[in-house]
Amino acid sequence: MNAPAQTYSEIAPERLLEAANAQRAAGSRLVQICCSRLQHFELLYSFSRPHTIEHLRICIPDSRVALPSISSIYGGSFAYENEIHDLYGITFTGMNVDYQGHFFRTAIPAPMAVPPVCAAPAPKPNKPQPQKEPT
Amino acid sequence: MSAWTRILAAILFVLLSPILAGLLAGLDRIISARMQSRIGPPLLQPIYDLLKLFQKERIAVNRSGHFFLLGYLLFTILAGIEFFIGGDLLIVIFALALASVFFVLGAFAAGSPYSHIGAERELIQIMASEPMLIMCAMGFYVATGSFQVTTIHAQPTPLIATLPGIFLGMIYILTIKLRKSPFDLSTSHHAHQEIVKGITTEFAGPYLAIIELAHGYETILLLGFLYLFFAPWPLLALAALIAVYFLEILADNTHARLYWQWVLRTSWAFTAIVGAGNLILLHYLQRGGTP
């Protein structure tokens, strides 16, 4: 398989815009933004150039932490950001198109923000559960 | 024509047209289906549909809408009666235009955005087809010296010989009137359109049946117009009508739906070229013939 190399790097939330700008300057395409609800919230921003995929990992302790939107750099990111806002309750500041929580119509607010019910021993069981409130 | 034959003609038109139009629509659906490699519905399906629609519950979106629909049906029937008793062609055309306007008003009264846009498009279609209808009446007048259907019908030579352009123009607008592709803008026979069923979106059950019925009368009336071109030779006329209707089905099955701008532009251009061209030429020839 001559699959492209995939690299993961963790960055602080404050450095997101800077990193996205660097990707943009390098000619990368925004592939996706994925949010995972583990014991914390983990966001993966994937950027691709023809032979590489780079994933930027951002960990935030709970959904009340607002993240900067990268839609000023990648115009199409608003779809992912609105989706994550509607399903996980994470706020993005400065989205170019903000549907105010009406992008995904959900019966309950932020339905995917519930921590995993997985039978696996949780890595950090003592961590206090953040209150999930739609922002 | 005596008074009794006139009454008989009127009664026959009112009673037979829906059946005839139903059979025609059934045939249309079967031929279309065969063109699309399908079997298609039974021949009488449109008639079954109509009867079933009349049995359905009456759900009123807006009462005035239904009054307008009755106006549509009534004036279409009046136009047809006037035509088939051999009356004045101009009255026929104006009654028909009035009927269309009632239909549009009915759709506007419903208040749904789909039927609003459908109604706007129907107005554009009326604008596209009406000049040709008037041109047709003028053509008959220039050729026969009368607007009376009886006089036009009694011509010894078929009018197709002197009015071929007008005939072509009439075929063109028949496609608009029959709501066939590429002109099925305001509503189409199936609902796969951006404005759903367009002008008829908000009508259901018996009210939709009224629209279907009026459309049936209108179809027969328009075919009557085409019949006049071949009046002295009824068999040829019948063959021509079948050929024209087949052409309409063929066009429906070989075209995409186009834009209203395109429809307006081409139908006016076509009317101007073949319709007006035919009239001018005819006038010139008659002047030349009788100096």
């Binding site: 398989m1 001559n2 699959a3 492209p4 995939q6 993961y8 395409r29 592939v31 996706q32 994925c34 995972s36 609800r37 583990l38 993966l44 995929i53 994933h55 990648y74 115009g75 199409g76 608003f78 779809a79 509607d86 549907y99 009406h102 992008f103 995904f104 119509r105 959900t106 339905p111 995917m112 519930v114 995993p116 019910v117 997985c118 039978a119 696996a120 | 279309s32 699309q36 490699s37 399908r38 955005p113 789909y114 609003h116 846009i117 706007e120 592709s181 803008l185 199936h190 796969h192 359109q193 951006e194 404005i195 759903v196 099955n253 070989t254 995409a256 739906r257 186009l258 834009y259 209203w260």
Partner: protein, 359 residues
């Protein structure tokens, strides 16, 4: 007529049987803005992964979508296999390639029909769907199912295809292809079809790239991007040339898809005689631990599967980024300023599979 009206488009709209709702703000039949909303059939499949055994989840992954079902299942398996470090048998790779190309053909043929329906050409619609049956028959013969055929499993394929059947398929495909030529010629040459497609829904190369368009959308705007070049399954042994058009309009996207159908026929003609002998699946031991992004090319474009395992039978996270979702921002861009009559055509040229995007 010049005042603004809002036309609701979907989720129950006859021309778009997909659960998306678009509020079209229109002014004189010109669309000023389109506001989407989703979630009508959100099934929470991504969340369900926490409760299902990772091998069983393949069936759920296949049910993400009703059209491109196979590639969903296969992509999920591929991601899990990579996390677990499994190298699946060669025959399974080739069979997977065969089924994903068959899926592409039937999906594109269905799409051509839907497009014809959107611009009111019923005859063409019927013709496309009738021919598509020929492809579905091949899928049924090889896998037992027609659309959601459950042939993928973690570690290979759920069933083998006999060699004599593989030898028979090319003839069936050729028959379909011959008939298809007549239909695609209509899309390419017919006057009224060109009126409805050429110059409609223009998306410039820069916009397509910036807004994250994928698949035929991106390729029709002149960007040669095709995930099959990454060489998953047996694609590393097959030359796949991305099909690119420069026009960036609906017609370009139609042409890309039509040429992709023929390309898929060519790929299948190469794949079928070359399927190597051997087993089609392998035993799986252990559970996935680690994370991986699998990237595949669906009929609708690039699709991403993210799998994060924690060493148990239950995955921590499974995420799909479907091509339709990535194509929503470009779609909204194209809808601005278009005519109302063009809305169905433009919406259809992204090949919307909203159920996919909802998961």
């Amino acid at each position: 007529m010049a005042n603004r009206t809002v036309i609701p488009f979907g989720p129950q709209h006859p021309v778009l049987p997909e659960p998306i709702h678009l509020d079209l703000v229109i002014e004189d039949e010109h669309v000023v803005e389109a506001i989407p909303s989703f979630g009508f059939i959100h099934r929470g499949l991504e969340k369900l992964v926490e409760k299902k055994d990772f091998t069983e989840f393949t069936f759920i992954a296949e049910r993400i979508c009703g059209i491109c079902s196979y590639i969903h299942g296969m992509g999920y398996c591929q991601a899990v296999e990579t996390v677990m470090g499994l190298e699946i048998p060669e025959r399974a790779k080739w069979l997977r390639t065969m089924w994903s190309e068959l899926s592409r053909i039937h999906s594109h043929m269905m799409w051509l029909g839907l497009l014809a329906d959107a611009f009111g050409f019923e005859n063409l619609f019927m013709a496309c769907w009738r021919l598509r049956e020929g492809i579905l028959d091949v899928i049924e013969e090889t896998s037992g199912g027609r659309v959601i055929f459950g042939a993928a499993k973690v570690g290979g394929c759920r069933r083998d295809v006999p060699d004599d059947l593989l030898a028979r398929i090319p003839a069936q495909l050729n028959a379909v292809e011959d008939e298809l030529r007549a239909i695609t010629n209509v899309f390419r040459d017919d006057f009224s079809v060109r009126q409805r497609l050429c110059g409609v829904g223009l998306l410039s190369r820069n916009d397509a790239y910036d807004l994250g368009a994928v698949g035929p959308m991106l390729r029709a705007s002149g960007v040669a991007q095709d995930s099959r070049l990454d060489g998953y399954a047996a694609y590393d042994k097959i030359a796949v040339e991305p099909i690119v058009e420069e026009s960036g309009d609906c017609w370009g996207r139609t042409m890309v898809r039509i040429r992709e159908i023929y390309q898929s026929f060519d790929i299948l003609r190469h794949v079928l005689p070359n399927v190597p002998p051997g087993p089609v699946d392998m035993k799986i031991t252990g559970a996935p631990k680690g994370e991986f992004f699998a990237r595949l090319e669906q009929p609708r474009g690039e699709v991403i599967y993210y799998v994060k395992g924690n060493g148990t039978k239950f995955l921590d996270r499974f995420r799909v980024r479907t091509p339709t979702f990535a194509n929503i921002p470009p779609l909204l861009k194209m809808l601005q300023g278009c005519q109302l009559a063009d809305v169905p055509v433009i919406v259809l040229t992204i090949d919307p599979c909203i159920s996919c995007a909802e998961r």
